[in-house]
């Protein structure tokens, strides 16, 4: 399974929750598969999906799923100790780990080589870290969302992209409708 197939599979599970989605193809794919006001699409700022998601989870009670990538987590490694030490039990971080920088041409990341993001997360103090195969992501997410425990899921999937249009929605519109969904 590649990332877009994982997103298609989990879309029904996340659509009723607040979702912060990573820059580039992940946001474009989610937007194409199942656009929701409760989706916050990052149009820029690589690496900050987990940080935005954590800030949002700490600020209010609704469940938050931050969809991140292995490359983006590598670029903002400092996020993992911050998450570990500021537990928000309404927060799920889903790292779609395809071992590559998908949006820029599938250049390999270190997460596809020797570095285990699940092991790094555990070493940073994150207590509930699940690594799963792409096929099992949906079940792992359902379990995480039905519990009340902050969870980090590392979904190991294949590298690869599908053609997908860019998001042309204005950022203030994305933010405004998202904040409406937060308050709803």
């Amino acid at each position: 399974m590649i990332r877009s197939e994982v997103l298609r599979d989990i879309a029904p599970v996340i659509r009723d929750h607040l979702v912060v989605c990573n820059i580039g193809l992940p946001s474009q794919e989610l937007h194409m598969i199942d656009d929701q006001p409760s989706n916050f699409y990052m149009l820029g700022t690589m690496g900050l999906s987990s940080s935005i998601g954590l800030g949002l989870a700490l600020a209010q009670k609704k469940k938050v799923v931050a969809i991140d990538g292995d490359g983006s987590v590598l670029t903002n490694f400092g996020t993992l100790p911050t998450i570990a030490n500021n537990v928000a039990d309404n927060f799920v971080l889903l790292i779609v780990d395809n071992g590559s920088y998908g949006s820029t041409g599938d250049q390999p990341t270190y997460a596809g080589k020797k570095t285990s993001l699940a092991a790094v997360a555990r070493a940073c103090g994150c207590e509930n870290v699940v690594e799963c195969k792409a096929e099992d992501t949906r079940a792992a997410l359902e379990t995480a969302l039905s519990g009340d425990k902050m969870t980090i899921i590392v979904s190991k999937c294949d590298s690869g992209n599908i053609p997908v249009p860019v998001i042309t929605m204005d950022p203030v519109t994305i933010r405004d409708r998202f904040m409406g969904a937060v308050k709803a």
Binding site: G55, L56, R175, V182
Partner: protein
């Protein structure tokens, strides 16, 4: 009243309830004060762009965030300021220690000090510079302005400001 307490009183008076910090020697007193306030959620971050991500999320979750950081970190936050805070129009007060100004003992700090105001001007970020103790009397108005216009706003605080004694 200490200047630290005065600043954090202004924060709480303007509803700021979520503060991320990356330490600087000059900011130690304010950070201690933040940590001791029950009405503020204090979340230290490892890097300032990470902190701005936390603030963006907190803002969308209904909080009034602020970041406390050193001017040397401006370089690592430019992309985040442009593509997250400014692009999505979010308010973000940035209380910044202005290292490398008069009284600075460390030469390397001057290297970013000479770029600080130019970078902020280039980013079209409203910038206020606290040099004398009484300059802090404007803090409340600056915070009000920040949440009125939904922009990042910089408050530079130099060594003379922190050293100054209020009569």
């Amino acid at each position: 009243m200490t200047i630290h307490r005065q600043i954090v009183d202004d924060f709480t008076a303007h509803g700021i309830d979520f503060v991320t910090t990356v330490p600087c020697k000059q900011l130690a007193g304010v950070i201690d004060e933040i940590e001791n306030r029950k009405e503020i959620f204090h979340i230290p971050s490892n890097k300032e762009d990470e902190g701005m991500g936390l603030c963006a999320g907190a803002f969308m979750g209904g909080k009034r965030p602020a970041i406390i950081m050193q001017n040397t970190a401006l370089g690592v936050t430019l992309n985040t300021l442009a593509t997250l805070i400014q692009f999505y129009r979010m308010p973000l007060p940035m209380l910044i220690s202005y290292r490398g100004e008069l009284g600075e003992p460390v030469a390397c700090q001057v290297e970013m000090a000479v770029h600080t105001k130019a970078l902020l001007a280039q980013m079209l970020i409203p910038t206020y510079h606290f040099h004398r103790r009484e300059d802090a009397d404007e803090l409340g108005a600056i915070l009000k302005y920040t949440f009125m216009c939904n922009k990042p706003v910089a408050i530079l605080t130099d060594a003379s400001f922190w050293k100054g004694e209020k009569e």
